[in-house]
Symmetry: D3
Subunit: 240 residues, 6 copies
């Protein structure tokens, strides 16, 4: 059930049977020469909606802007400051908690959001002690790590990874890009200022080889992530 295609009376009816909601969150940031700028929220949105369908859960519209300060050296990246993103998360939860929602499952597509989401949760609990927030990173499960290792070995890297690019290829086959990728890529994962970031990772990739991505891989990864996140969501609901 998609929040934006519902009426307030339908949401009231939903609240009779569940007080949980799924909130997809990603980022709008460079993903190397061949990755889409929307990669992080595209993945989060599609997986969140599929999880919502399987579990009959309400899914909000997607938070397309995340904390991407370190990528702002690349054209098209839009970043919310950590403090801004914290306030956004807080406002979202406060708004829905007012109506009776009390379990908030953030289905996240961007590593850079994790620390911010955690600090936001802390601020939220102080204001709303009966609320629980859970963070579900779509790429972070043992099964998924195993699959990705099988598919890409040590060429997965940390940013603009073949796995996320593959998912977007599967979801937007008309937007598959091609561009020359230098063979050597910095295998480092340290992040300092945006200027420093661009010097270390000149084409935006961090140790990854996205040319390994295929539509077929994308389907496989997408489906596994749905399975894993459905489990995590159900575990969250079942929690005492």
């Amino acid at each position: 059930m998609l929040l934006h295609l519902s009426t307030w009376q339908e949401v009231e009816a939903y609240l009779q049977r569940s007080q949980a909601v799924i909130i997809p969150i990603g980022s709008t940031e460079q993903h190397g020469p061949t990755g889409l700028i929307g990669t992080d929220f595209i993945c989060a949105e599609a997986i969140a909606r599929a999880v919502g369908e399987t579990t009959d859960a309400l899914v909000t519209s997607t938070l397309t802007l995340g904390m991407a300060e370190h990528h702002t050296g690349f054209a098209g990246t839009i970043s919310l400051k950590p403090s801004t993103l914290t306030l956004v998360i807080h406002d979202v939860v406060r708004s829905l908690a007012k109506h009776g929602f009390n379990r908030f499952f953030f289905l996240n597509g961007h590593g850079g959001n994790i620390a911010v989401l955690k600090t936001a949760f802390t601020e939220i609990y102080n204001e709303l002690p009966d609320v629980r927030c859970r963070l579900g990173n779509w790429w972070a499960s043992n099964e998924m790590y195993k699959l990705v290792r099988e598919l890409y070995g040590n060429q997965e890297g940390y940013h603009a990874t073949p796995s996320e690019v593959a998912v977007t290829m599967y979801l937007y086959p008309d937007s598959i890009k091609s561009a020359p990728l230098s063979e050597s890529v910095n295998k480092d994962s340290r992040i300092y200022s945006p200027e420093e970031f661009r010097k270390r990772y000149p084409d935006g990739r961090m140790g990854s080889n996205p040319s390994l991505a295929t539509i077929e891989n994308g389907k496989q990864i997408f489906e596994l992530s749905i399975k894993e996140l459905v489990e995590q969501y159900n575990d969250f609901l079942a929690e005492v």
Copy 2:
């Protein structure tokens, strides 16, 4: 050209020919018993993308959350506080200005965002004196007022209007809702606290009769708004 389906190198190329960008912004809020919660951003997004196509402009992903504090008495409404929304707007402009963008056209679908956008622009100009922001409200032009008056007379109202509902019916024909609408509706337009709002406007409508909306109207309104906003955008580009 959609930002989220582009690469950073494609955005760099775009900047060679234009430093302007269209940013759709709406709200996630109740729209009466038959209006979609996403109405405001659905309209803004579709119109922005059509304007972008016509004018070959870059369009960012949609800011789906707006300032909707007065609607938070209704389930499913998500509101950013005015101060939070101001920071979001500022962060969006700051990020893109770093890459060379200097004309920001906010294609807006929600009246409640107007005051906040204006104050945000002021804060932005202080930090970025070379930037210009323009607000384009899709429903606000003489031609559009004329059309809407012809179609709905004094039943257009102020919120959950037949005109915006018609546009969403045209865009999402599978999500057309039906629900009983009491014939009498408060014709007032005053807004105080959320609690007070719900008392004055118990089903969420403000003086409107959305049952007049049809898919055909929606198409007509949608197309006129594109025409009007293309003009406004071109005027913005042409401005000395």
Copy 3:
């Protein structure tokens, strides 16, 4: 009844018969070569006190500083940032609401305050749901627009207007200024950064010809505005 010339016990007595208060707000900003820097708050203060006398209402001291960022390129302009002004408004209302006031009529003399006052009201309602704020712009009524059109036609402009200058001439006949005014004046009304503002409007006027102002006009405008604002205030009190 003027708050600053009363004792707290007199205010307590006032609260027995009314919970409404008038708050004059203006700005301290350049008004062209012949307009006083205090124009906006001088007008608001005088009209507010006259309205208060007519309606037997309590009038606070005047908020002489408004949101005038775009005028800061001209010497003597003092501007509160939008965020600062929002906090000031909030603190004023919070203080008085603690004593039982619940209707706040802001008698405003500056267009640049409008968006900020509206966003401040929203923040206030969230904290104080039983409070109502109303904005009364002294120049904004059909009768006034008519009079001003009769007096000045298309030479009224948008800033440093003959109408506001006339009111200050009437109120401060000893401070009437004369300075050369170029005949051509930018008829535009767009506002971007302070630097940009000064380039577009080099002597501070926006499309206006304040040399048309006379003391007699000032009296006429002043008296009409009192009549109009008394009506607006009474309407506010009568509102259910």
Copy 4:
């Protein structure tokens, strides 16, 4: 020279001969059963204007709202939070520093503002290292302490003092109030929460006997304070 009765071109001319400005600041707060709510800003304003006349200095409009949180238990008190007042002070200085002002003399009428002004100055110096701010409390000089001790002995107290009441009697003889004053008054000077304040000081006085105030005293005190503050202002100008 009064800022609000000047034009921006007159201020530009003033800046040719002086970069100093006097800013009167007071408070809007209860002053016991017979003291005016505006006492603190009335005194600061009148003294500031007189000092300005003597020294040919520019005087801004008066900051009528100060930090009066502890008085908010009494009707009619309006208080800015310390953080709000800090921002206001900062905005005032930032605005005028942009035009070339660099010496800011705050002529203060309220003890509760002192700590806030000092912290504001610190924040200002970090942003504007070439600016200097000076605090002049009108009641605080050896000569004045001596005069007040002669006039009122140990009945001066800490708030709603005969000395400040006398000055307002001299300035506003039409607004002299009379009300019963209990003979016993708490001689303490401790300040905690507003609720606690009202319990300790039930009629708003802190150890004072304002019934000793006379118009003649007021004149004497007023004139001495002008003399003292003129000296302080000149000392500030002369400082290397």
Copy 5:
């Protein structure tokens, strides 16, 4: 070299040979019935000073307050809000960067600080692009995990662990506490609001058995952590 026992001229001399500094940070929070409230900062301080001695590095005074909101249900816990701690970290780095420091090694003793430190670093890099911050958690290295597993197996738990208690026993043998510890302990590690935390973890422990701690273990752990952190610090210095 301890900052607080140095003069500013000695710090200037230090800057000739190194621009790096070690900043111990911990927390002031309950650590179960037998753990000291200062455990987290006691460990961080002692390890930081030992690392500083070995590497001839400057060590600041210890940030004894961390983000401990979830522990505030227990007497004596002092927590900085995430937003406050972010500002503190930022101020510390800004102050020292002004003198020429550019490598900031935070030697951390509290898991709850990690997300906040990371977001603070992001904010810092935006203001100070040439600065680098590194986080060294004393308990987090493969060697240390191995040792702790050998010593305590699955009784280490997540909070009030035998390993950190052992270190404090070694450092403060006069402050070793004894108190009854129930045998069963919640093995969960989920954290929501402070109220919820106290319900889940009624004596403050999270899955740990601190009665296993001994002074000898403490010495072993302390010495290993120094060895590991010296390596991390040297690696930070060596980084290109």
Copy 6:
């Protein structure tokens, strides 16, 4: 009783007999060529702990960072902005008030903290009306002023004073520094920006001659301050 060496259950027991707590606060800032950077918090900490021992009071860990913006021109100074320090103070009191503490005695070692502490107290009282905060500056009592005048006459000065240096010499005899001190020293006490400060007071001293300090003086001053502060603390406890 030292908070950091206690368990939460011991703090709970303490609360049965007292709801008061002593919080040492100082600063980390240059103290001239021979003064320790930690001087202000070293003194506050040692005196606070001695007072705590005498009065059987709980003493928290020391706030080692204060408001020292004007000293940031000297290497090694770490300053919290006034707004940051205000938040820290507020968080400390809020945390402990949650457990039942209601009297907070800040034993302060730095003049620059005074204005900030006072504004913080105001903010705290608004949120926590039953709490009382008291400021005890260790150097500020008639007895102490007398002793210091006897010992150092007019060479005490305002910063890096012989009295505070003497106390640190007594407490840290191994860290006594020697450095050349120019005989002439600016006797001024005005403070503007950090840059201006360094120009006025080139070696960091403000009118002081710390070479007069001796260990014996330090002992004398230390012991007198304990006596004075014990009295102040007891007076605070006794206050109705």
